[in-house]
């Protein structure tokens, strides 16, 4: 029965890894968006 614990752990680990990576993409993207807004404002330095 504890073997199913391993099964769950493997599937969970897979999705945790993918979600963490997607999270880095999303956070970098929102940071970039903010930078672009700053660039668009005339005379404002980021």
């Amino acid at each position: 029965m504890s073997n199913n614990g391993y099964l769950f752990a493997a599937y969970a680990a897979t999705w945790i890894i993918h979600i963490v990576y997607l999270g880095t993409i999303v956070s970098r993207y929102s940071r970039l968006k903010r930078e672009i807004e700053d660039l668009k404002k005339p005379g404002v330095r980021s």
Binding site: N3, L7, A10, Y11, A13, T14, Y21, I25, Y29, L39
Partner: protein, 231 residues
Amino acid sequence: MKTVFPILGVLTAILLSYALYEALVAAPTEQTMGDVQRIFYYHVPSAWTAFILFFVNFGASVFYLTKRRPAADIVALVSAEVGVVFCTVVLVTGPIWARPVWGIWWAPGDIRLTSTLVLWLIYVSYLVLRRFSSSGQTPTLAAALAVLGALCVPFVYFSIWFFRTQHPQPVMGGGGSIDPRMLHVLLINWLAFSCFAFLVCWSRYRLERLQREVDQAHALESLLEPRRSAR
């Protein structure tokens, strides 16, 4: 373009859910290993996806060295990063599967896990090089490293293969013929993960393109208006 992505996203999510159901419920239970064997349906497709991505990296690097297109460089970077992510999944699910089945987390002679580890090391070193070198030369240097890394792969495989004949090790699951129903579930999961990988690569590609445009805008700004620049 803007509408295609969400549609593909939803389709992929549906496909992944269906594949998960197939793997956990519909697939037949393996005789010797029991339900733990179902890790196979995540472990193997991740490995295949990682290998394909690394092959794409090799192709993109060679293309960059010959044609010097920036897009090729971005493809190389993206495929290496996403490839490393999938490779990490393989290296994490592998030991989790091995522990209940063999009683050990790792076997040095297990050709698949060990060669995957070496592959992971090679492409992580590629990403480290990209991080640590200055932007003008990075694409060329990284492409050269990628070519060497890719050429290394057959040697990795053969050296570990021979090592295994000298030091016999337990064979990881999937050796020999496979039940057609299991093959069916495996292929569905592979298709689902391939679609997922494609979408992740696409997002990362868009992010990188945007990042480079912003960097160029910054560079242009500091060139054109040095008086107002904080530096």
